[in-house]
């Protein structure tokens, strides 16, 4: 015989204001199976919990209903309290009489009546609850970090320094990401490479970090704690073990005309190359599309020059498999290209800025390379068309950002800051130059950020125009920039030598495919979705997969690093326990009645259901059935709804429980 206890919470005044809690408790006491019913001002407080615990013992309760706030808020609190008295925590249910009742209704009488019904349903359900045990999953204490930019580097080092192995996968030949190519960083103007390269070296030399560069994640199998990841290592044509990184090969390479990816096309590189001198690993790769030997079968100069005999023209792509327990995604960003060809029909490019046809209209990352001491101009500011020093530079903010018509609706967040930085760096190098900025608003929230922008304007004399640029045209080698200054309320025409576009930040290429492999959600722009925007900022809805850096949303270096450390701490939290426990409220298949139609396999958003075979002891096939992997199931219930033979139940939300709830109302 069920012995249910009902505990009605006032939530201070939050519930009591619009719900007569005494009346609810009194009504509940008469429900079948209820042996005690009380109300109290703060049920989640210590005395409130003590009251529940006391009743569990005294009234020998077999089920508990707490009528209070959302289960999101306090279900865990109350279940823990019950567990302390030996009651299985899954015998505790909540009736949400705050968010679902007192907060949304004002008529106290009707709200009280509704609260009573909500409690009645919870009582009806809890009668059919049965004890559940948390699922225990073993953990491989080894993490995969996807992306070797500053966020990935930070996450990898944090995890590795705590003593766990890390596998890092980077698509480019070197780690370092976008930050390795930046000149100086706001708001301190310290040199980007000087901060980052020591961290890169640490990664390269760390005994706990295994680095796969020039590699991509091909497929991911398994589940939290037990992932199996296939990594495609692209052919490098250079034996990493033999190569000493001496540079004889790239100095000899005659194919010199390929635009450098690292310089965003502002400079060129050879076919065998390291992207930049401080690359980690400091070993070259051969670009198979540019190499004369690999395209035309003649040359081989690098092979002749290589004393270490490290060149392997017959190198092939290979796939390696790594087993890891947790995955950190840090794939970063790219910039919106203003050209006519766009990857999405919603994006239209910027015809008014010439769709890329003017050589001296460049984007911000290209400008970073031009001002960078390690860049193609050795830090001397020269414009791409003729190598002259630009005397007037126009910076345009919000290109593709905050533009519903042909760009992204969001603010890219960092452009106000780096544009201010660009004007400073420019003015520090070209003293008689003029820097103009067109902006919509200046968004400089952050420590020392607004001060930094003011410095650009007040000390370095950057000229800020609040307004948009309507057209850029070219006239006798000058770029004619026509815009408006909405504060002065007049059109502005500037004859510029160089125009720098602060283009919108977009997630890196291929992130959507990666997200699908990992079962991580993403938004309409391709940014990966965190579990909760405030309280679970680095977790994703795929257990064991974490996000950090600009793959989640536009962010600057300090934020990316902070988020990376947060992701690392979540991974370390997982690794700190001998095994993982997961909520047992997952789907289970009744293998006797399963008709093996596998509709559930196709519908499961987490790929948690597999096709299984039942065999007798001689190994003969008895039947096929669907089977839920308890490590992967997130308990969403989609399979329950789709199963035509009603062979799947969701623990904690069985059909019996749901029907009992509905039945109690009619």
């Amino acid at each position: 015989m069920a012995r249910i206890g009902v505990f009605v919470c006032w939530c201070g005044e939050n519930i009591a204001r619009n719900v007569d809690c005494g009346k609810v408790s009194e009504a509940a006491s008469r429900f079948p199976g209820v042996v005690c019913s009380v109300d109290y001002k703060y049920m989640c407080s210590d005395p409130g919990q003590a009251m529940i615990r006391e009743r569990i013992i005294k009234d020998r309760l077999t089920g508990v209903v707490v009528a209070s706030c959302s289960p999101h808020m306090h279900l865990k609190t109350f279940r823990k309290a019950a567990e302390q008295e030996g009651l299985n925590p899954y015998l505790v249910e909540m009736a949400n009489i705050r968010e679902h009742c007192s907060w949304v209704h004002h008529d106290k009488e009707k709200a009280t009546a509704k609260a009573i019904e909500l409690v009645r349903m919870a009582v009806a359900k809890v009668m059919y609850n049965h004890p559940l045990d948390p699922i225990r999953v073993p953990v491989t204490k080894r993490a995969l970090v996807i992306g070797g930019g500053v966020a990935g580097i930070q996450a990898a080092l944090d995890i590795a320094d705590a003593g766990y192995e890390v596998v890092m996968v980077e698509r480019e030949p070197s780690i370092g990401g976008k930050m390795a190519g930046l000149s100086e960083t706001f708001p301190t103007l310290d040199c980007s490479q000087c901060i980052l390269t020591p961290r890169m070296v640490e990664v390269g030399q760390h005994p706990k970090i295994r680095l796969h560069t020039y590699s991509e994640v091909q497929s991911v199998e398994g589940y939290v704690g037990n992932f199996k990841v296939n990594i495609l290592k692209r052919a490098r044509y250079v034996d990493m073990k033999k190569c000493t990184g001496c540079g004889a090969c790239w100095n000899a390479c005659p194919s010199k005309k390929t635009l450098s990816e690292f310089d965003f096309g502002m400079g060129t590189r050879t076919a065998i190359y390291v992207p930049f001198p401080q690359a980690v690993p400091a070993r070259p790769v051969i670009d198979a599309n540019a190499c004369l030997m690999l395209t035309k079968g003649k040359c081989g100069l690098c092979e002749k020059k290589c004393a270490a005999k490290a060149i392997m023209f017959d190198d092939k792509d290979q796939v390696v498999t790594e087993e890891v327990g947790a995955i950190v995604v840090a794939t970063g960003y790219r910039l919106y290209g203003i050209g006519k060809q766009q990857d999405s029909a919603k994006l239209a490019g910027y015809g008014e800025y010439g769709y890329d046809k003017y050589k001296d209209v460049i984007d911000s990352l290209q400008f970073e390379r031009i001002v960078s001491a390690s860049g193609p101009t050795n830090g001397e500011i020269k414009r791409p068309s003729d190598g002259k020093t630009p005397k007037t530079v126009v910076f345009i903010q919000c290109v593709g950002s905050r533009d519903n018509a042909k760009g992204m609706a969001y603010c890219s967040k960092i452009c106000c800051m780096y544009t201010a930085k660009h004007t400073m760096l420019y003015k520090h190098k070209v003293h008689d130059g003029e820097a103009h900025v067109f902006y919509m608003d200046i968004r400089a929230g952050g420590k020392n950020y607004d001060e930094f922008v003011r410095r650009a304007i007040e000390q370095d004399g950057a000229k800020y125009h609040r307004g948009r640029v309507s057209k850029i045209t070219e006239e006798d080698g000058k770029l004619i920039v026509r815009g408006v200054d909405t504060l002065a309320n007049e059109p502005v025409t500037i004859e510029a030598d160089l125009v720098v576009l602060a283009s919108a930040m977009r997630p890196a290429d291929g992130v959507e495919e990666l997200a699908q492999k990992l079962n991580v959600g993403y938004d309409e722009y391709g940014f990966l979705s965190e579990s909760h925007p405030k309280l679970r900022p680095v977790e994703t809805n795929a257990a064991g997969v974490f996000v950090c850096g600009a793959c989640q949303a536009p962010k600057d270096i300090p934020e990316a690093v902070a988020q990376a450390s947060a992701a690392a701490s979540k991974v370390l939290g997982m690794f700190s326990k001998p095994e993982l426990t997961r909520e047992p409220e997952i789907a289970i298949v009744n293998e006797q009645t399963c008709a093996a139609c596998f509709a559930c396999v196709r519908t499961c958003p987490y790929n948690a259901i597999e096709r299984a075979e039942i065999r007798d002891r001689k190994g003969n096939l008895v039947k096929r059935t669907a089977r839920v992997n308890p490590g992967l199931c997130m308990g969403c219930g989609t399979c329950v709804a789709i199963c035509p033979s009603k062979s799947i139940e969701l623990e904690g939300f069985t059909e019996q429980q749901i029907y009992a709830q509905i039945g109690s109302l009619v």
């Binding site: 006519k340 910027y350 015809g351 008014e352 010439g354 769709y355 057209k471 045209t473 070219e474 006239e475 004619i480």
Partner: protein, 280 residues
């Protein structure tokens, strides 16, 4: 081939040279223009600045007539007219309630079925290759600056024609006929349009910039497909020259003028002799 023709106020009035040119040119290409019976004003700037409902109702009436009389295609050589007609078509076809309301207001069922074309689109409908085949005279020696003005490509969500910032449809056509169109920077800038009535200074200033830029990029003529642009660049050119103390002497052709010349028509047949600026 027969298509409907909506002249609008300009082509029956101040810009009847444009009508003459369009009719002669299309006639030579075997296109017969059938003028819409009892068409009314498109509303132009006046209506859409003052009354949104009127701005839809005026073109809706003409669209209703076109539907009643069975026109699939309707040429509106004036970009203002074609824009207003297209906008009304877009609004009416996408909104059942408005469709019903407008049908009552204009006393004609109107669904927004007719496709409204500008002059360039008519040539595209005929086919640039067909036009080229019909051409008898090469346009070599003509270095036109193709001028689209504000309304031929804008607003892009209504027009859905060419590239609104970097259009090239006139250049493609004229180049195929032997002309050498120039790359220049004022293709889609404003000529001042109706300001010519109330604020002449603005128009003279803008027209001067357009003419100067065309010349600077090596053009020996400007090609338009808009009566208003023609007024401001051709009729006002003498005023521009007086005002800025320069000699532009720039021939301003309608697109149909140059195509007509390529087809072997003479200047008089095309009405070119009635332009203000003449060849020196």
């Amino acid at each position: 081939m027969e298509i409907g023709y909506y002249p609008g106020c300009a082509l029956h009035g101040s810009s009847n040279d444009y009508e003459r040119s369009v009719r002669a040119c299309l006639n030579a290409l075997g296109v017969n223009l059938r003028e819409l019976d009892d068409w009314i004003c498109c509303g132009a700037t006046a209506a859409h600045s003052l009354n949104q409902k009127l701005a839809v109702a005026l073109p809706a009436r003409s669209l209703g007539i076109a539907e009643r009389d069975g026109y699939d295609d309707l040429l509106a050589p004036c970009p203002m007219c074609s824009m207003e007609l297209l906008k009304a078509k877009m609004l009416i076809s996408g909104d059942a309630a408005l469709r019903k309301e407008m049908s009552e207001v204009v006393e004609l069922p109107v669904e927004g079925r007719t496709s409204v074309l500008n002059l360039i689109q008519v040539f595209q409908r005929i086919g640039y290759d067909k036009v080229k085949e019909a051409a008898k005279v090469s346009l070599s020696g003509y270095k036109p600056a193709c001028y689209y003005g504000c309304l031929l490509t804008r607003p892009p969500e209504v027009l859905r024609f060419d590239d609104c910032e970097q259009p090239s449809s006139m250049e493609t056509l004229l180049a195929s006929l032997g002309a050498a169109p120039v790359e220049w920077n004022y293709k889609t800038e404003c000529c001042g349009a109706g300001m010519t009535m109330c604020n002449e200074d603005t128009v003279l200033n803008l027209s001067h910039k357009i003419l100067s830029n065309a010349a600077r990029h090596g053009a020996n003529c400007v090609v338009v497909a808009c009566p208003m642009c023609h007024v401001n660049l051709d009729m006002k050119q003498a005023d521009v020259e007086r005002r800025y103390g320069v000699q532009h002497g720039m021939m301003i052709y309608y697109l149909s003028d140059l195509v007509g010349l390529a087809l072997g028509l003479d200047e008089e047949a095309l009405g070119i002799n009635r332009h203000y600026v003449s060849k020196r």
